[in-house]
Every structure is written in C-alpha cells, then in structure tokens.
C-alpha cells in the first residue's frame, strides 16, 4: 500500500518542516521580521555540516553540536550588525535587506561549492527502517528527524513560557515600547531571538543535508515550505507550526505520487486552499499587529 506509506513518510517529514519553520516563526513573532534569507541560511547549515564531515571526519550527527553554536553566532552578528539597523529604517527595509542577503548567501555558496549537488553521508542509517506492517516501513532517519523536530518545538515553547528571557521575548513581541520601559533591551532580545532561530535552522540544515542532495539553490524551496507550515498552523502557534509541517509533509509525499514531475504542486495547492478557507490557520492565536 504505497499511499499509506506515503502518508506515514509525510507525517515524519513534517518534523523537518517544523524545524525549518520554527525559526521563521520566532523571528516574525518577536520582531515582525520576515526573514527571506531563512531558506538560504538552512543551506548554510547544511554546508557547514558537510564541510565538517569532510574536513574533520566528525560523525554526521555530531556536526550538529558544532553547527548550533556557529549558526547562533552568525545569527547574533547578523541581527546586531545588520537587521537591527534595517528594522529602524523605512517599512520595506527589512524585507529588502533579507532578500538581498538571500541573494548574497546563495551566490557565495554557489561560488564556493559550485552548483553540484552534495549530501552528508550517513552510511547504512540512510536506508535503515523498521517494518511496522508488511506494507508500511518507517525509516529510522525520518523518525529521528521527526523526534528532533518535536523536541525542539517543545523546548522552544518551554523556553518562551518559563524562562526570564523567554518572557522578555514575548513581552517585546506584544508591545515593544512598554517592554523597553520595563528595562528590556529590545536590541539584545532581537539578537538572541535571531541566534536561536538560526541555531534551529542550522539543525534543520544538517538534517536536510543527510536527507537529500542539496545545492546553493535548494534554500528557495525550503523557505517556501517553512512559510507554508507557519501559515497553515496559524501565526504565533508553535504546535500549530508542527501540525502545519505534518500536513505539508503528507501533501508533499502524496503529491510526489500524483504529479511526479512537479512534486511540490499539491503542497502549494493545499496551502492556498487553507489560505482561502482558514485564513488564520489551523490553530489561530491572537497576535498583535
């Protein structure tokens, strides 16, 4: 039963989409900034993992331990040096700056790694699977991706709900002026949010690198998936984003069976249908602005 299998694979794929979308959602939630370079940054993470495996011989999953702080540092720098400035300029500046950044990153990666497709090799794990029924097998790696996606979403949710800086982030999101008056330095909160967002997208990048072949242009598709997951799930809801990712994952794997030549068409159509019939997403949460 290939359809049942496609659905199961799709649900697991949702974990990867949620990882991709969480950072996008966080940055939009905290500073109302839609990071058009998010997809390109995921591919930066994938290349970081790839280079680490090639140069240092680290086991593929261990690269995540190095990629997380690296991406967080990039995020912190990016926000402090560039995006905070852009947020203070005219209304279109942040969108245009992140778009320019996406073009820059994409072409730098193209120059460094050519347009050849790469992937991070994990050996036998790539094909390993657990047979559930005679027809349905769950891949070990897709399952790992899903579990990591759920853990990251849960951790982020807890962080925002329970820690002091998490509360500061939500306060800044709700009302920047008031939060500033309460002694919150919104610029460092923004830098922290971007650092977290990029750390998460770095994890997503490494998983992308293991899951499929990628090149500098692959980020475009992942930005679209991340965005669709956020909108389907409802702005501001992290668990919604996970649900959105899972719906999108199923639409992708089933769509690949229906339209082999344009695999993402069904996913895009599902997204547009939700935009028409449920414009606030599946789990709408009231957000300001």
């Amino acid at each position: 039963m290939q359809w049942a299998n496609a659905v199961v694979q799709g649900l697991l794929l949702g974990g990867l989409y949620a990882l991709l979308a969480a950072g996008l959602s966080l940055m939009f939630g905290v500073m109302r900034l839609v990071n058009l370079a998010h997809g390109a940054l995921a591919i930066v993470g994938a290349y970081l993992g790839y280079v680490l495996v090639q140069k240092t011989g680290l086991p593929p999953f261990a690269t995540i331990i190095v990629v997380i702080p690296l991406m967080a540092a990039i995020g912190w720098l990016l926000q402090s040096a560039l995006l905070n400035t852009a947020l203070n300029k005219q209304a279109l500046a942040p969108i245009l700056v992140t778009f320019g950044l996406a073009v820059i990153l994409q072409n730098v990666m193209l120059q460094l790694f050519t347009a050849d497709y790469r992937s991070i090799q994990v050996g036998d794990l790539a094909g390993a699977s657990i047979q559930i029924t005679p027809d349905i097998a769950i891949g070990v790696f897709p399952l790992m991706t899903f579990v990591v996606g759920v853990i990251v979403i849960a951790a982020l949710q807890q962080y925002l709900a329970r820690t002091k800086t998490g509360r500061a982030m939500r306060a800044t999101s709700d009302d920047r002026e008031a939060a500033t008056l309460m002694g919150i330095d919104n610029k460092s909160i923004y830098a922290l949010a971007t650092a977290i967002a990029l750390a998460i997208v770095g994890i997503a990048g490494v998983f992308i690198g293991i899951k499929t072949q990628f090149n500098a242009y692959s980020g475009d598709t992942y930005l679209i998936f991340a965005f669709e997951a956020v909108i389907i799930g409802g702005l501001g809801s992290l668990w919604g984003t996970l649900a959105g990712g899972m719906i999108l994952g199923v639409a992708t794997t089933v769509g690949a069976q229906l339209f082999p030549s344009s695999g993402t068409l069904l996913a895009d159509l599902v997204f547009l249908a939700i935009l028409v019939f449920l414009p606030t997403g599946l789990f709408p949460k009231v957000v300001n602005g």
Partner: protein, 368 residues
C-alpha cells in the same frame, strides 16, 4: 485632490501646482529622446544595439512596475515572475496556437495577465508585509508548475514563438525594438498618469498609513488591487517582449525568481517611489550586467551588497542623489506650493501634510 489648498481663512489662499520648469524640460527631453530612439533603426542603431536596447527597455518596464507596487502602493511582491511567464506563454498561445497573430496575441496576453492577477489577488491579499511577499512567490510557483502540466504549452520543455516566421531577421529585430520602445512609453506614461490621478494619491496614502487612509475614505483594498493588476499587466507586457526577443519560451527561464530580484535591484539602485528612479536604475543595472556581468556569480553578490547598503544608507537611490533629495522632479506626481502661505500658522500646517518631503523653499504636498 483639489487644485487649491486653503486654510480656514478664505483670504489666504495658496496656489499649488504640479508642473515646474524642470518637469517641462523633462517632458520635452523625453519626447526628443523617444523620437530619436524611434528613428534609430533607420540611422544609427545596429541590429545588435537594437537588441541591447530592447533588453534595457524590458528592464525599465519591469522596474517601473515593481516600483508601482512597492514604491507607491507599499506591496513587496517577489512573485512578479508569474506574470512575466503568463505574458510570454500568453502571446505564444494566442498568436500561434490560437492563430490570432502578433497584435491580437499581444493584447490578449496582457488581458490574461490582468485577469489572472485579479483572481489571485483575492488569495494574496489575505497576507500582508513579508508574508505577502512569500505568498506571491508561492502563487508564482503554482502558476509555473501548472503551466508545465500542459502538453499544448510544451510541458516542461517550453515552446517556440512562430508568428515571426517569414520576417527577415533585421525587420523582426526592428519591429520588436519598436514594440519595446512603445511599451516603455506606455508603461511609464500609464504609471505616471495613474499616480497623478486621485487613485495615485490614494496609493501613497495607503502605503504611508493604511489605517489613516481608510478613515479618510480611501478604499484601501481597491487601490491595492488596481496597482497589483496594472503591475501584473506591465510584467505580462515585459513577458511578451521576452518571448519576441528569444522566440522561445522556457518555463524555467520565464518563471525564474531572478526576474523579481532584478526588479528589486533596479528599483533600489535607481530610487524607490519615483518615476525617474527605475529608469536610471535599469540603465545602471543593464550597464553593470553588460560590462561587469562576466565576473560570474560574484557579480550578484556585489549587487546584493550594493542593494543592502543602498536600502540602509541611500534609501532614495541614485535618483535621490541626482534630484538633491526630491527637489528636482522630471515627472512630478504630487502637488507643490507655488506661493507660500502668509499666516505663520499655515506654513507648518502645509509642511506637516507631507512628512516625507518637507524641503523648503518649494514645500511640496506630494503625499496628500
């Protein structure tokens, strides 16, 4: 938009005007340049140069349209390649497959672009800001993927434009050049006239503050939709020109997001929110592409860095430098005060109506 601005004391009427000496000179120079360009193929323009200029004209149209959207109506779209593709496929479909010939094909391609834009606006307008931007991109992807499902349109392989078969190459190149020249004039003129109209005042009001504009009676969604449809038709027009120059429409090439990247660079480099900006930007962009483009991908990296730097530090672009911060306007869309008001109260009042361009001595009421 009334022609006279007056404060409550009727005795103190201020006269406002739109045209200035600079704009008159601008109009005359534009007419001379266009006339010279139109005569060019008979005299001083080689085939190669006509083709080069056709490319430049396509860039000017694209820049002007993106500027209409982002610079005036405040909508950043990264999905305009959808309409380039629809224009390109539209002319092939109407002119060749339906056999309607070049001219009807051209018009029909524009009509199709407009209709599709109108329909998808009901989807795209559910999103705003950055999410609107990505939403337009998704819509463009869907239109691209659907197009490649049709075998009559060549599926994934593309399709040729055959309506020029039988033309000698030099005739074809000149005809396409003239169409492109006419298209630039139409695109810039339509944008200019649109912005001078009541609607144009509404656009800028919506861009600067949609809520305030709505309370003043501007129909925000309608204004945005008109700008969106016009910009889509302009991009469709550019798409038909692309089909006419390459004679071959390939889905991966007409629907690529790089077109929108080019539009954004053109507008940012030239100066957003002015008619002149995209024209200057297109010329600079074309020159860069032609003379620096062979350094490969670093060229796009440099372009990206320039664009970011300009957004942050020179938001009015090159035209902002040339026009000394908006004092010089060749295509003035707003009104400016001809005789300053006398009452001490009135002057600050008049200035506060135009927060973006309070540049004395000619206090312009551009954003009224």
């Amino acid at each position: 938009m009334s022609v006279t601005l007056s404060d409550s004391t009727a005795a103190n009427r201020a006269r406002v005007q739109r045209s200035t000496r600079a704009s008159l000179v601008g109009l005359v120079v534009s007419i001379i340049v266009v006339a010279a360009l139109a005569y060019g193929p008979y005299a001083f323009l080689s085939k190669g140069n006509q083709q080069n200029l056709t490319t430049l004209f396509i860039y000017i149209i694209l820049g002007t349209m993106w500027n209409l959207l982002a610079g005036y109506a405040g909508m950043v779209s990264i999905g305009q390649q959808a309409f380039i593709g629809i224009g390109a496929y539209g002319i092939v479909y109407a002119a060749d497959i339906l056999g309607l010939g070049l001219w009807i094909g051209l018009v029909l391609a524009l009509v199709i672009s407009g209709i599709v834009a109108h329909l998808v606006s009901f989807l795209a307008f559910r999103l705003s800001g950055g999410y609107f931007a990505i939403g337009t991109w998704v819509i463009a992807e869907v239109i691209y993927l659907i197009t490649t499902q049709f075998d009559t349109l060549g599926a994934g392989a593309g399709i040729s434009l055959t309506t020029f078969r039988g033309y000698k190459p030099e005739i074809r190149i000149a005809v396409v050049y003239w169409i492109a020249l006419a298209a630039v004039v139409v695109a810039v003129a339509v944008t200019y006239l649109l912005l001078r109209s009541r609607l144009g005042a509404g656009f800028t009001a919506v861009r600067d503050d949609a809520t305030a504009a709505a309370t003043l009676g501007v129909n925000v969604t309608r204004s945005r939709r008109i700008a969106w449809v016009v910009a889509a038709m302009g991009c469709g027009l550019a798409g038909t020109l692309l089909a006419m120059t390459t004679l071959n429409v390939q889905p991966g090439s007409v629907f690529k997001i790089q077109w929108t990247a080019f539009m954004i660079f053109i507008v940012i480099i030239g100066g957003i929110g002015t008619i002149e900006g995209p024209i200057i930007g297109a010329i600079v962009f074309y020159a860069l592409e032609r003379y620096v483009g062979d350094v490969g991908f670093w060229y796009l990296v440099i372009l990206g860095i320039i664009a970011i730097a300009m957004v942050l530090f020179l938001p009015k672009g090159l035209w902002g430098l040339i026009s000394r911060g908006g004092r010089l306007q060749l295509f003035p869309t707003g009104l400016r005060l001809a005789t300053p008001l006398v009452t001490p109260l009135a002057t600050p009042l008049a200035t506060t109506t135009s927060p973006t361009s309070g540049t004395p001595p000619t206090t312009s009421a551009e954003d009224l």
